[in-house]
């Protein structure tokens, strides 16, 4: 699939066959690394590569290719840079190109048209790479703001990108015979996919690699994202920023105290790839519950130490043999272990003190008990952690499960704004739009317009969550009994409290639950559609899950467990790997 992406990119570059310079937005670097390397780019005439910065040096005759994400502000910056370089009356042809990932928007075109630059000086290209194979069974598109635009603002500009990816993917894997779509945007995606098949042609592969395809919206199952996970990779992504499968933290923070004089805890500096093929240790610990990880790592360190001692006592021949065969591997292993140990230490430092309490509160929430304690904890968290994402996250979880009264919501929001500043006041409307907070009752004089606003059906009510969860048996009756060391229940990533929805649905499909059963259970979640082309019961025991809006490592861990329990294969495709904090960032920081 990398080859396909490269082929697509090469077509764009071939538009101008001369030597070019490439200017890239820094956030794009990591994903682009996964598509192609420098040598390949040089093969297509790319001379130098620069990061997108404020000033633009003069490049002379070389063509210039910009590569940016679909962000209006960045685009304006690029356009300003170009304008400073050229003469409007006599623009150079075929010199400036802007590659927009994933897709250039009409506003960009309008902007260029208004400035007189469209078609003359600047050429716009769209480019979306094929999904990256980040790790076994994980495919990710690495589109940064999809959740924000789609779910926070209900702006469907990126849905065609997703449907096109699906269409292109089906050329590679064949079209699965059994397809379920759950959620408003997933169904739109499937419709667009059908349209594409009609207009542009379908795959000629007879049999698909996958028995079933499940397309689901993120907003169908928010608790999976909002609950605090317990597996190693998931915690890693909570503490560090994991981008395109690379976990990195470049500099040490120098502030000792934050704004409210809370002492800041340092994160260890590290960079490593989350790749279970290269990093055998990672492959072992990635889905383990965190309490096990530290013991595994300490065992491995002891092993290494004993190996070291052994090697000191070896005879000369043995040493030669050892250096030839094992030294490299041991060195690498040591590096991996060091990285993981540092990461684990940071996780403990940052999350350790509140992990137990948080787990308990979340357990209560999922079980629908002790609402007052939970609310108290929320208030404490607000002051003690001084982290706007974590607090908002817990609030959203409470809002969709145990539902809060209007006064509770109001008092929380009041405190929240006090703590973090009134500049976040607009986020309240975002919360209403997403369905976390019910719309306040309109008190103005009635008009037909107001009635229309009232008719909008709230997406989540508490009865819905608990009823649905019980229906699909997502909440184990006794969380303490769930064994996290040798897990047998897919709720272990959350400490036994909750089974992610996609795992349950996959389980149902793989166990050949009757179709009507599936239909009746899933219809209550949202817009539901099913296509069955003699594909059920599944012919090949493999499922592709396409989550619109982001997937978490905890859900992947749960699905991996299901794989081992049922002997099936589950692949997960999504636009990005997220954590609950990323979703909250979307509510608070978007649009930039």
């Amino acid at each position: 699939m990398k080859e396909i992406s490269k082929a697509q990119l090469s077509k764009i570059f071939c538009v101008n066959p001369n030597t070019k310079n490439l200017i890239i937005e820094s956030a794009l670097i990591r994903p682009l690394e996964r598509v192609c390397g420098v040598k390949w780019l040089k093969g297509y005439g790319v001379d130098k590569i620069y990061k997108l910065e404020g000033a633009l040096p003069n490049f002379g005759a070389n063509a210039i290719f910009y590569m940016i994400f679909s962000d209006a502000k960045v685009f304006k910056q690029v356009v300003n840079q170009v304008r400073s370089q050229i003469d409007l009356e006599n623009p150079p042809k075929n010199k400036f190109h802007v590659i927009v990932v994933p897709r250039h928007l009409t506003d960009f075109e309008n902007e260029l048209e208004q400035l007189g630059l469209l078609y003359t000086a600047i050429t716009l290209h769209s480019f979306q790479w094929m999904p990256f194979h980040l790790d076994t069974g994980i495919l990710s598109l690495e589109i940064p703001s999809l959740f924000n635009s789609l779910f926070v603002y209900q702006d469907t500009k990126f849905v065609p990108v997703l449907s096109k990816i699906l269409w292109q993917l089906c050329f590679v894997i064949g079209k699965p015979r059994f397809i379920i779509g759950l959620g408003q945007f997933s169904n739109a995606l499937l419709n667009q996919y059908d349209q594409l098949c009609e207009d542009r042609g379908e795959t000629d592969k007879l049999d698909s690699d996958f028995g079933a395809l499940l397309v689901i919206d993120r907003n169908i199952d928010y608790p999976s994202v909002l609950l605090t996970p317990g597996t190693y990779t998931a915690l890693l992504s909570e503490v560090y920023s994991v981008n395109a499968g690379v976990c990195e933290n470049k500099e040490e923070s120098i502030d000792k105290l934050d704004q409210k004089y809370n002492p800041l805890i340092d994160k260890q500096v590290l960079t490593f790839n989350l790749d279970s093929i290269q990093d055998s240790i990672y492959a072992d610990i990635k889905n383990r519950y965190f309490t096990e990880v530290t013991s595994v790592l300490s065992n491995l360190t002891k092993q290494l130490k004993s190996e070291k001692l052994q090697s000191k006592e070896m005879a000369l021949d043995e040493i030669k043999h050892y250096v030839q065969t094992q030294l490299q591997a041991t060195k690498q292993k040591k590096k991996f272990i060091t990285n993981h140990l540092l990461a684990a230490e940071s996780i403990i430092n940052i999350l350790g003190h509140r992990f137990e309490n948080q787990k308990q509160v979340e357990r209560n929430i999922v079980k629908d008990s002790d609402k007052a304690t939970n609310l108290n904890y929320l208030d404490e968290l607000l002051a003690t952690e001084n982290d706007k994402h974590i607090t908002l996250r817990l609030f959203c979880l409470l809002a969709i499960t145990q539902t809060l009264t209007e006064s509770e919501i109001r008092s929380f929001w009041h405190k929240y704004l006090h703590q973090f500043g009134f500049s976040y006041g607009f986020a309240f409307t975002n919360l209403i739009n997403m369905g976390f907070v019910p719309e306040p009752a309109q008190t103005s004089s009635s008009s037909s317009l107001n009635l229309q606003n009232k008719i909008k059906i709230p997406k989540f009510t508490s009865s819905n969550f608990y009823v649905n969860a019980k229906n699909l048996k997502q909440i184990p009756s006794d969380p303490d009994k769930v064994n996290v060391k040798y897990p047998t229940c897919a709720s272990y990533p959350y400490g036994g409290s909750y089974i992610p929805l996609i795992t349950q649905i996959s389980g149902m499909i793989l166990n050949s639950t009757p179709i009507d059963d599936i239909k009746s259970k899933l219809e209550t979640f949202g817009t539901f559609s099913m296509r069955n082309d003699r594909g059920y019961p599944l012919q090949s025991r493999s499922v592709l899950i396409y989550v619109v809006g982001g997937i978490t490592y905890a859900e992947i861990a749960a699905c991996n467990l299901l794989e081992t329990l049922t002997g099936a294969r589950i692949y997960i495709l999504s636009d990005k790997l997220v954590t609950g904090n990323d979703l909250m960032k979307g509510i608070l920081d978007y649009p930039k």
Binding site: E3, I4, Q8, K11, I12, I29, E33, G37, V38, I49, Y50, K51, E53, A55, R103, L105, T106, D107, H125, S126, Y153, Q154, D155, T156, K157, V159, P160, Q168, F171, V172, F185, N191, R200, G201, D204, Y261, P263, N273, D275, H353, D379, E380, L382, A383, H418, G421, F422, S423, G425, F426, F428, T429, I432, P440, S444, S447, L449, Q452, N453, P591
Partner: protein
């Protein structure tokens, strides 16, 4: 010229290191199947053609009809509505925005808003477009015309979002309030907005504190006016004082001496354990910490915390009070000699006037 060269060199330097270090592509030699084994030639052609079509600006059908509408002198009213509805059906944000912008340019504003208001998704898309482009005045008009009065609050906040200078912020918000206040009907919303106006000097409690360390009244007044939450307030005070190491002031503020039972209590809304935890993060001296540990009423919890925080004296004292000799002996192992705590244990163990339980 020279400066420009320098500039070039600077960036070139960056790019060279950039090329070498950052662009470490993930193993090239890993399984890259020859492309044709994975999909047939025709399929590949289809996929690549897709890109070509974008480059050659082949207009898809919707765009064709849009162009037709825009070039025709007068488009039929029904056609326009049909266009809008079919655009909304496609669920493609790009198309929707193009159609909306087209309609805006060819219709009078109130009619435009009226039609939009009937289609909620269209309002959303257009509002989002306006927000991204920073056109807040139009956003306010949109919301007013379509009856979304609650969203006025949103506009209010959005206006102030990027502004860092307080004066400019105040002016902008005031202007907005004057224009749109009558529309904000919910009383709660109103009070929130007014509060914000007063609060503009900022929520920086600690800054106030630093300025006038001893003037409690100013702080208290501030707190009361804005109805700041107690917990948050006390937590901030704790943090500020602890980070400035004002231990005596901390004691004065939080410990309420109780002369009767000689056991002091903490006068705070916080749970004592949380208080101690918060304090311990600033690494205070042990005896300060022990003062507060003594205020925790549950002795088991305080013992546990003391052990976690290595407050040995506290633990030793506790065991002495409980007359638990075995525990003392056990604890001796944890305490390094010769320190004060060690001698404390030794003295206690050797003193003859204590009646031990065990």
């Amino acid at each position: 010229m020279a400066s420009k060269n320098e500039d070039d060199f600077g960036i070139q330097d960056l790019s060279q290191s950039f090329n070498e270090l950052v662009f470490s592509s993930v193993t090239e030699e890993s399984s890259v199947l020859p492309i044709f084994s994975v999909l047939s030639k025709t399929s590949l052609d289809l996929v690549l053609d897709d890109i070509k079509s974008v480059n050659e600006y082949v207009v898809p059908p919707w765009k064709k009809s849009l162009k037709k509408c825009s070039t025709d002198k007068n488009t039929h009213w029904n056609d326009k509505l049909l266009l809008l509805d079919s655009a909304l059906e496609t669920m493609d944000g790009n198309i929707i925005i193009s159609v909306i912008l087209f309609l805006k340019s060819t219709l009078k504003q109130n009619i435009f808003f009226h039609q939009l208001s009937k289609r909620k998704s269209a309002v959303r898309h257009y509002a989002n477009y306006l927000i991204i482009n920073g056109q807040f005045q139009q956003l306010a008009d949109l919301y007013m015309a379509t009856g979304n009065n609650a969203n006025m609050k949103q506009v209010y906040y959005l206006i102030g979002r990027d502004v860092t200078s307080k004066d400019v912020l105040y002016k902008r918000l005031e202007q907005f309030m004057v224009e749109h206040m009558p529309k904000v009907n919910n009383n709660e919303d109103k009070s929130e907005l007014f509060e914000n106006m007063h609060l503009l000097p900022g929520c920086a409690l600690q800054k106030e504190w630093e300025k006038n360390k001893n003037s409690n009244e100013a702080i208290m007044d501030f707190k009361k006016r804005l109805k700041v939450d107690d917990f948050g307030f006390e937590w901030t005070i704790l943090n500020v004082m602890a980070s400035m190491q004002l231990w005596p002031q901390l004691t004065a503020t939080f410990i309420k001496p109780n002369w009767l039972t000689k056991k002091n209590t903490l006068k705070t809304v916080m749970n004592p354990e949380i208080f101690v935890y918060g304090l311990s993060r600033h690494k205070p001296p042990k005896d300060v910490l022990e003062q507060y540990l003594a205020c925790i009423s549950d002795s088991e919890k305080s013992l546990y915390l003391a052990q976690k925080l290595n407050c040995h004296k506290f633990v030793i004292q506790h065991y002495i009070n409980q007359r638990d000799r075995l525990a003392l002996i056990g604890y001796k192992a944890k305490v390094t000699a010769p320190t004060e705590e060690y001698f404390l244990i030794e003295n206690a163990l050797q003193s003859t006037d204590k009646k031990w339980k065990n």
